[in-house]
Symmetry: C2
Subunit: 392 residues, 2 copies
C-alpha cells in the first residue's frame, strides 16, 4: 500500500531469535481510524492509543508481541509512554503521533530495554513490502500469519487494500479483535474512515468467538494513505459505500482467518440464525450456540448431536420463544423441526455433514425477517492442552 | 423419611443390567413443591410434571435415566402421558397424581415397553430405605451417587431431611438443577413449601455451573410428608425460617456435590464476589469468571494465571467499572489490586494455593455491600473426552 512502510526487529521482549517488534510508518496526510476492546481492564497501550488517535494524526503504529502490558497498573502506563517517546526520539515525530499496541502475557512488566535495542533496528528495516514479515512478528499462539491483500477498481480507479490480524485464543472481540491492521491507498476523511471501520468491525471481528473471552488488548486500525488513485469526498455516498463493501469483505476474511487458526480447531463452524425478530436476538441465539461447550465438543467428535444445539437455542433467553416454529439445519439437512427431530432426518445424513471441515448450522426462528451469523471453532483436546500450557 | 418409600427397577430403557427406573411413593397428606428448567425446549416430562403439580396432590414421582424424552415433539408428550397412565393403573391412583422425570439422551423415542416391564418391579421393591439405590439408578455421566441426609431439632422437635441429585454435565441450572429430589418429614403447607424450595434453589442449584449449558430436563422437587414431629403453620415465620435454613444447607450440599462430580473435574472452584452494588451484578461477574474457558483451563493446569481472571472481570459488562478499586484473591492471597499485580504477590504464593483441590477466588469490586458466590469446576482433557464420546 503506497504510503505505508513496515519494519520489524527481534527485540528480545520475550521470545529469542524471532521478530517481536513491528513499526508501521504512515505517510503524512493519511487518515487513521481505530476500534478498541470494551473490556474494562483495557491494557495501557490501548488506553494510550485511543487517546493519541483522538488527539493527533498518527505517524507510527508500534506493535510488540510477547508482552500484553495489561494488568500492569500505573507502571505499565508509564512504560508504555516511555516506549512511544523512544520511537518519537528516533523517528523525529511527537510521542503522541505513535499508537502503541501490545499482545502476549498479561501482568508482566514491559521490558523497556528491548525497545531501546529494537526500535533502531525496526526503523532500519522499514519497507513497503514487509507485510508478511510483520504479520509473523505479531503472532503468539497463532500457527499461521493472517494476511489479506487485494486490488479492486472503484469508479474506474485502482484501489489497494492490505490487512493483517493476529489472534487464536481469548477471542470474543467487542468492537475489534486482538490486533488487526488494515491499510488502503484510497483517500478518505478521518470521520468517514472511522464510521467505515466501526461498521466493518461490527460485521466481521465482532461476529467471531473462540472461547467467549474478550481480550484486554483488542484493537483494529484502518489506515487510508490517500496515495492511490481514488479520493472520496464525504459527500460521495455511493463511492463510500463501494469502499465500505470492500473493507467489510477484507475484515470478514481476516476475522474468519482468526477462527480458522483458532486454538485447537478441527472444524470451522458458521452459526447462521434466520427469521428472527431483530438482528440482536439472532446474535443472542447464535452466540449461545457458538459458545456452548457441549455443542463445540460434539462438533469435535463429528457427532451430529442436534439435541445439544436445540438445548442451547432453548436457553438463549429469547422471550416468548415458540419452539414448535423453530427449524435447525446441519449443512443443507433439516435436523430438527416442530420441537423435535425432523421426520425425514437420518443419523447417516448428519454424520455425512460432520465429515466436512467447514459446517454451517442454520437456525430458523420463525418469528421475523432478521438474520445474523457468527463464526466459531470446535472445542478439542488441543484447545485444553494449549491453554493449560500457555501463560496468557 | 417417614411417609416416603422408594422403588427401583432395571427396566432396560437404555442401559443393560442396571437400575434405570425409580418410583417415589408419597403418603397421603404430604405437600410437594417443584422448580423446573426455564429452557424454552422443556422436555415433555417437565411440562407434564409442572401441569400435574399445579393440578393435584402428587402421590408418585417416576424417574427414568437413559432417555431424556426431550426434543421429541408431540409423540414424546403422548409417550410421557402413557407412562404415567401405566403407573396410575398399577398403583391405583390418578395419572395426574404422577410426576414424571426423565434424564439421558435427547431426541430418542421413550421406549414404553420398558415401563410396562419396569413399573411392577419398581412397585414391588418400594421401601423407605432405598434412597442410595435410587440415587444410583438416576445417574448418567455421574461417577458417584449424590445423597444427603440429616436429622436436626427445630423447636425441640426432630426433623429428618433426605435428598438426592444427579448431574455432572449440561449444568447451569436456571430455577433448578438436573433432577434433585428432597424429602422431609416436617409438615408444611404447599404454598410455604413452594416458597421455601424456590428460595433454596436460588441459593444453591442456581449458583452452580459446569459448562453454562442449561438442561432441557432440570427439575427439583421438595416433599414434606408431615409424618414427623414438626408441623409448621404458615403463620409461624420463625420456625419456617429455621426450616428454610436447613433446606438451604441441604440444597447447597447437593449442588456442591454435583460440581464435585462435574465431568472431568480436577478442582472445585468457588467464585466469591464481594463489595458489589447489587447481588445481580455480583452474580454477573461470578458467572463470567466461572464460565471462562481460559480461567478454567488455567485452573486445570494449576497455573495461578490471575491475568485471565482479571480479563474475565473486565469483560463481564458492569457499567462504570472502576478497575483500580478491584482486588482479587486466590485463597487468602491478594493477587491483583489497583489494576495490576498486587505489590507483595509472588508467583510461588499463587502456585501454593493451586496445589489445593478446592480453591476460592474472591473478587472485591469496591462499589457496594452486596455479595454472591457460584461454584464451578475446571476444564480438563477429560471434560472434552467425556463430551466428545457421550451422546447427550
Amino acid at each position: 500500500v503506497n504510503g505505508v512502510r513496515l519494519g520489524t526487529a527481534a527485540a528480545g521482549i520475550r521470545y529469542q531469535n524471532r521478530d517481536d517488534l513491528v513499526l508501521f510508518d504512515i505517510c503524512e496526510g493519511a487518515t487513521v481510524a481505530g476500534v478498541f476492546t470494551r473490556n474494562a481492564f483495557r491494557a495501557a497501550p490501548v488506553q494510550v492509543a485511543m487517546r493519541n488517535l483522538s488527539a493527533t494524526s498518527p505517524r507510527y503504529l508500534m506493535i510488540n508481541s510477547g508482552n500484553a502490558n495489561a494488568g500492569t497498573g500505573q507502571a505499565g502506563h508509564d512504560n508504555c509512554l516511555a516506549s512511544t517517546q523512544l520511537l518519537a526520539d528516533a523517528a523525529g515525530c511527537d510521542a503522541q503521533q505513535v499508537l502503541p499496541f501490545s499482545t502476549g502475557v498479561i501482568g508482566e512488566p514491559l521490558p523497556l530495554a528491548a525497545f531501546t535495542t529494537g526500535i533502531p533496528l525496526a526503523i532500519g528495516s522499514l519497507a513497503a513490502d514487509n507485510w508478511l514479515t510483520a504479520a509473523r512478528a505479531i503472532m503468539t499462539t497463532d500457527t499461521v500469519p493472517k494476511l489479506v491483500s487485494k486490488q479492486v477498481r472503484i469508479d474506474g480507479k485502482l484501489v489497494t487494500f492490505t490487512g493483517m490480524a493476529k489472534g487464536a485464543g481469548m477471542i470474543r472481540p467487542d468492537m475489534a479483535t486482538m490486533l488487526a491492521f488494515i491499510a488502503t491507498d484510497a483517500g478518505v476523511s478521518t470521520s468517514a474512515l472511522q464510521a467505515m471501520l466501526a461498521s466493518a468491525a461490527d460485521q466481521s471481528f465482532n461476529r467471531i468467538t473462540v472461547d467467549g473471552d474478550t481480550s484486554t488488548n483488542d484493537a483494529c486500525i484502518l489506515i487510508a494513505t490517500g496515495r492511490g488513485e481514488l479520493h472520496v469526498p464525504d459527500t460521495d455516498q455511493q463511492t463510500l459505500q463501494a469502499l465500505q463493501a470492500e473493507v467489510n469483505a477484507l475484515c470478514t476474511e481476516l476475522a474468519q482467518a482468526v477462527i480458522r487458526d483458532a486454538e485447537g480447531i478441527t472444524k470451522f463452524m458458521t452459526i447462521d440464525v434466520q427469521q428472527g425478530a431483530s438482528e440482536a436476538e439472532c446474535l443472542q441465539v447464535a452466540y449461545t450456540v457458538a459458545l456452548s461447550p457441549l455443542v463445540k465438543t460434539a462438533f469435535f467428535a463429528s457427532d451430529p448431536n442436534w439435541g445439544r444445539i436445540l438445548a442451547a437455542v432453548g436457553r438463549s433467553g429469547l422471550p416468548e420463544l415458540d419452539v414448535s416454529a423453530i427449524s435447525i439445519y446441519l449443512g443443507a439437512t433439516c435436523i430438527a423441526s416442530a420441537g423435535g427431530r425432523s421426520p425425514d432426518y437420518t443419523e447417516q445424513q448428519g454424520q455425512q455433514v460432520m465429515q466436512q471441515d467447514e459446517i454451517t448450522v442454520t437456525i430458523k426462528l420463525g418469528r421475523g425477517d432478521a438474520r445474523a451469523s457468527v463464526w466459531t471453532s470446535d472445542l478439542s483436546h488441543d484447545y485444553v492442552r494449549i491453554n493449560a500450557e500457555y501463560r496468557t
